[in-house]
Symmetry: C2
Subunit: 284 residues, 2 copies
């Protein structure tokens, strides 16, 4: 399952905001065990955005767009989806009525006409209610490829991804593959010496795969494996990790291991939540 992220917005190209949406989505896609080969950033331009969608649909199984689905004139993601798929925009009257009612209740006035654009969707698409904002997410399966449009505001994007995009892609991926990364932090060995010592491991390995991340004096060695389960991925990593540790010795001073349950736990901690587990009838 190859998933490509397209972040939409001229402010990203101008460097006025940092593309943390791509980082968050990349990390979630990796957690789920799906592959990411490319990311794109495009400005608020209908023709260029439609072209970016076409390119992504030609090489990925699912495309996740973020940004450009608000009510203003530079929100062009719906139009570009329509252009890229040849599916005309439809109007969801029920949602529009709901939105207009919400406006009356919240602001005590008529909803501006431009807001009705948020009720539009390419023919055949699903709309996902957005509890943190007004623009609904959009999901469209077109010629075997999933195409999702999410808001650019991070909490809205994240909520819709977890509630709607991830479950649909999990169902599509069927036998969910697990991905586990181990990152060994080394210090005091220059990058090229390290590369030389691990040369054959690097060349031979596809699963697990090895990569080096250099930042000043610390060089990280990342070992990434995929399996049907996390345990299977762990079992693939273990012998390679042992070998890397043997060759680099005392230069390794720390290790990171990030997995989906680990991330969940960390997020619970960050929110001050506690996790309770109850087990019954497993005989153990």
């Amino acid at each position: 399952m190859i998933v490509e992220v397209i972040a939409v917005g001229t402010e990203l190209l101008l460097g006025q905001i940092v593309n943390t949406n791509a980082t968050w989505l990349g990390s979630r896609i990796a957690d789920e065990g799906w592959d990411a080969m490319h990311q794109q950033v495009v400005g608020d331009n209908r023709a260029r955005l439609a072209e970016a969608i076409r390119v992504a649909m030609g090489r990925a199984d699912a495309v996740v767009l973020t940004g450009g689905i608000g009510p203003t004139q530079d929100d062009l993601t719906r139009e570009a989806m329509s252009d890229a798929t040849g599916r005309p925009l439809q109007f969801n009257e029920e949602f529009a009525t709901e939105l207009a009612g919400w406006w009356q209740r919240r602001f005590g006035r008529e909803m501006p006409v431009s807001n009705f654009r948020q009720a539009e969707y390419p023919e055949g698409a699903e709309q996902y209610p957005n509890p943190r904002g007004t623009a609904p997410g959009i999901g469209l399966r077109h010629e075997g490829t999933w195409l999702f449009a999410l808001p650019g505001v991070p909490p809205e994007m994240q909520g819709l991804f977890d509630a709607n995009v991830a479950p649909r892609l999990r169902a599509e991926a069927g036998d969910l593959s697990a991905i586990v990364s181990r990152v060994l932090h080394s210090w005091g060995i220059p990058e090229s010496t390290l590369g030389e010592r691990l040369d054959d491991l690097f060349t031979a390995s596809t699963n697990p795969s090895l990569a080096f991340l250099a930042s000043s004096a610390v060089i990280k060695v990342r070992i990434t494996a995929k399996g049907r389960t996390e345990e299977e991925a762990e079992a693939l990593i273990a012998p390679v990790e042992d070998e890397v540790r043997r060759r680099l010795g005392a230069a390794i001073f720390a290790v990171d291991r990030e997995t989906l349950p680990g991330v969940v736990l960390e997020r619970c901690r960050a929110r001050g939540w506690r996790l309770a587990a109850a087990e019954s009838m497993t005989g153990g």
Copy 2:
């Protein structure tokens, strides 16, 4: 002058690091008055990287790659540049000797063979010394398009961009155009109402151009103009800003104005530097 940034590295796709290089480069490109239409992120894969370079060269006047020029086996930017341009890799013996000497002095041992890869460059390219690291930057003018390869480590990338890339592109751009943005922060007006009030300004304007940036209750209106000088760009912004202020009234609570001199001053302040200016013989 259209400049496209390609950030290289699987760690970006996996969301393990944030793509701040693209943000920094985007902001510098805008400061210089050049256009950015697309950004790409590609993993450490030679074929996909070569294809990304080809695509970018087909639509931009200059392509800036960051990442993938270190000494290890997953550093494939040099090879991909060679593949994309059909220019075989050459070996800079002088630089290799220098690098080997530096290794002897610094580590008191032979340089690992793999480090010699950093002395390679596509036929016809320039190499730029990297005072903050070992991998030199690369600049190649191929069929009218500039192609630059910079390191992924931010301070190394930034130093090489300012010292080598920017001057070459300024010379290329000739009559340097200035770009100035004004960002008006509004509060209390919903995005769609704001869009409605500014509709005609949005539709009519190309220089200056208008954009909306929404983040929760604060909606920012960005007015961006280009001119031959900053003053010319300012003069284009002024009447549009007045009109926007007139229509939004008290909802506007703050304004940002970022220009190249402003950024320089801000950076001086951040470092605790003071700026002295001396004027003479101008008769005023």
